[in-house]
Amino acid sequence: MERQVTREPGLLLEVDDLHVRLRRGDREIRAVRGLTYRVSVGRTLAIVGESGSGKTVSCRAVMGLLPPTAVVTGSARLEGKELLGLPDAEMREHLGADLAMVFQDPVRSLNPTMRIGAQITEAIQEHLPLSRGEAGRRAVELLERVRIPLAGRRFHEYPHQLSGGMRQRVMIAIALACHPRLLIADEATTALDVTTQAQIMELLLELQRELGMALVFISHDLSLAASYADEVMVMYAGRAVERAPTRTLFAQVRMPYTRALLEAIPRLDRPAHSLLPVVPGQPPDPSAQHVGCSFAERCPNVRPACRETAPPLEQHEPDHFWACWNPCQVGWAG
Amino acid sequence: MANVPTDERLPLGLEALAGAPAPARTGRWAGHLDVGVPAAAIVLLFAACFVWPTLLPLAKPVGGNIFEANLGPLSPGHLLGTDTVGNDVLSRLLYGGRTSLETALAVNLIGLFLGGTIGALAAYLGGAVDAVAMRGLDVLIAFPALVLALAIADSLGPGQGHTILALSFFAVPVFARNARAATLRLRELTFMTAARLCGTRTWRMLLRHIAPNILPQLLTFGLLSMGAIMVIEGALSFLGLGIALPDPSWGNMIFQGQQSISATPLLVLFPSAFLFVAVLAFNLLGDALRARWNVR
């Protein structure tokens, strides 16, 4: 398959000042408030945050998969080409071919009355000029590539005949059907058990290496990010609050929020039955206007300045961005 | 039956029990038009058919003078004209409407209470009772409504009482099925198990827990079936077996009008229009309430 060579070698996705406003009934929700990041070819970015932080919405905005009532401003460029505001027909040419997504719930994300094979060949034939037979062969190859045994038989089966882990592999096969440059995995392993989770993540990384893709995976699980990502971006209340290469982030956590997330991860070396340190309070109401730092109410490091102005995301140390007036000074050990 | 997609969402009563606020409407008048307009139409209809004849001067619906036959609308003394034997059309429309509305109301009430109880009881008691009840209902529902009604009306003879009875044979099983589905949904809920564990007696369960929760669903269903019953009663009367001439009913007026359809199309159009408006109003109201109460 022929592909054009990237003009700027390395940089694949550039997101600048992304804002997303959604409508729920007659309320307007500011789901994403000024998000900026970069993803390079062959690299893995983990976007981490709690529910409602805007991580899923931001990625769907980039792919143009939000409902038509959503208002998206800012810029998202794939290899230099602006994706936001593209007419539907043009965006559809890129969807699946250049960027693809794997969704969270494999039970509901596959059409229950359509055979697995057909769902894969649909993706193939949408973008590649292959005959039905050729598309079918390619689909079986994809099923084998995602390590589904008896691929030829599975091709004719329906989603409910497969286990959760296999369904997720099928989702991956669908996403990879046309060898996209960028793969976004939206909580792809959240619905799976721990063992399967590890298998799927290994598979994703392996495929990334083989195909030379960039991988963005969204999760609420920091430990997952620690194990598999090159770079981690932490989101809170629609903004990125900290971003750094994985090693750097975990060695020197600066944002109190990130620090709190890390401390909430259960560890074996804590005394048994001790209370898990949780972050008190709730994320702010996304439909309300907010002055100052969104985390101020729950932050252990809060200062008066925090309630007045929201801190900008800036590169304070080489390769380490954070948005905080009063970051943690001591590195987090562990 | 295979997976029936109908009757599957929860009735609103549950939310009321949980203390949740009713679904917020926009608060402007426009938001209530969907209920207001059909409700007003229905009230007007009832007023016209029940109040006007008793309180205001109106010609007699029967025993008209043959010399006054086939007068057009806006004739002196006959606002909408007269029919082929000289009866006043407006009067027949209103008295006929009264008959049609009464009949449909009676049938629906019987269906609601008798059918609703049977269905809820069957679903609640479950087991053999439910199985037997279901088969019985299946048998009744297997008969096309019109066919069953005709056969029964034929056995019993024409007349309003017999018509009500004949149509009830159709309405009771349909309501029962609806109530059964709703109660089955309810049974799954924890508050039901809690009540049962407290040792609540069956009748109390039915009255205090089940009835209020399935009532919204049954009521909206009742509103929607008002239209259907009126249409079937019209069909029965049209065919000569419901309300017998010369007593008017919209159905037999349409039949009469058909006899002279090319000469006097208005005699068909007037009762048809009234029937249409009545059915439409009930359907709109039922639909609006169903959406509002979030019932399937």
Binding site: E93, E122, G136 | D138, I141, I254
Partner: protein
């Protein structure tokens, strides 16, 4: 990458199909429905008999009318075997039904089976035509409406369909006659031309009746289908399809409609009784020599054996049609056809 044999290889596919059918829950479901249908059919026959032969005080009296002398009434009673106890009469009637002898029409003397045999095909054709009309209209309109929920097509079609389903089919029939047979003589107002004579004329003679029955049903189906499609469009698999770059119409038809059709199938099945019942009045209006018209004539003539037989036939038809719908559903829905399989 290793080369693989084409996925359409017969061995794999065949193994899959055979295994699926043998352990198929569909088969068990179908068998179960069949078994349940039997007592229902029995109940249908019992109820028919009770309504027609047990309820009326004196059947012979009713048949002969008020002028009959007691001697005449008694004579008829003996002839009809009305002096025997009810269960015995039922048994002999059922015996007759099962051996294909439904008695003779009191009005014409013809064997009832012959009458029904003559008229049934016409009613069947009408029912099929009306069904085709209703579905053929409902699907495209529902799709157009669901394409842009809240849009013009949606609001217009929902409004019109609400009016349409509030229209009684006999009223619609009369209006259609006024419009399309009297003012614009496009279709015949009454009368039937059999298929054997001319297909075109046959269809023309059945079009207005089929429209009268089918249009209100179409309105009803449109509303339900549109709601179902709109629901399906909210599902996650639709987002997956869009993420593949599939266009909006293909998503609507290939994904949402496909899943909505099951609901439609069920509703169509549930409404078959209404459809069949409607033929009674519509055949009367259009003078179609079908079962419905025979039914009405029998009622007017107090032709008890014929009435009984027709009611039985119609109710049985409904039970069987519902059974067929259930089975069809079980076969078509892959979630039922291929149950859960462990890996």
């Amino acid at each position: 990458m290793t080369a693989t044999a084409a996925p359409a290889v017969s061995a794999d596919r065949l193994i899959g199909r055979v295994a699926a059918l043998a352990t198929s829950p569909s088969l068990r479901l179908a068998a179960r429905r069949l078994v349940i249908a039997v007592p229902v059919l029995w109940g249908v026959s019992a109820l028919t008999f009770i309504v027609m032969s047990v309820l009326p005080g004196n059947a012979a009296q009713q048949i002969l009318g008020v002028q009959a002398t007691p001697a005449q009434v008694h004579q008829l009673e003996l002839e009809l075997g009305l002096d025997k106890p009810a269960w015995l009469r039922y048994a002999s009637w059922i015996g007759g039904v099962l051996t294909g002898n439904l008695g003779r029409s009191l009005a014409s003397g013809q064997p009832v089976t012959a009458i029904i045999g003559q008229r049934l095909p016409i009613t069947v054709e009408l029912v099929v035509y009306a069904l085709a009309v209703s579905v053929a209209l409902a699907v495209p309109v529902a799709l157009l409406a669901a394409r842009r929920p809240g849009g013009l097509a949606d609001r217009l079609s929902m409004g019109i369909s609400m009016a349409g389903l509030s229209m009684a089919n006999y009223v619609l029939a009369l209006l259609l006659v006024i419009a399309l047979a009297v003012y614009l003589p496009v279709f015949p107002a009454i009368g039937f031309v059999p298929l054997t004579e001319s297909v075109g004329a046959n269809l023309r003679s059945l079009t207005l009746p089929a429209l009268a029955i089918g249009l209100p049903l179409a309105c009803f189906y449109t509303r339900l289908l549109r709601a179902d499609i709109a629901d399906q469009m909210q599902e996650d698999y639709v987002v997956t399809a869009r993420a593949k770059g599939v266009g909006p119409w293909q998503v609507l038809v290939r994904h949402a409609l496909r899943n909505s059709l099951f609901g439609l199938l069920t509703i169509v099945g549930l409404n078959l009784g209404t459809l069949i019942g409607a033929t009674v009045i519509i055949e009367q209006i259009f003078s179609l020599p079908g079962i419905g018209q025979a039914f009405l004539q029998a009622i007017n003539n107090r032709d008890v054996p014929l009435i009984e037989a027709i009611v039985l036939v119609l109710a049985t038809a409904v039970v069987l049609a519902n059974l067929l719908t259930d089975i069809l559903y079980a076969v078509l829905d892959p979630r039922i056809r291929y149950g859960q399989r462990p890996d």
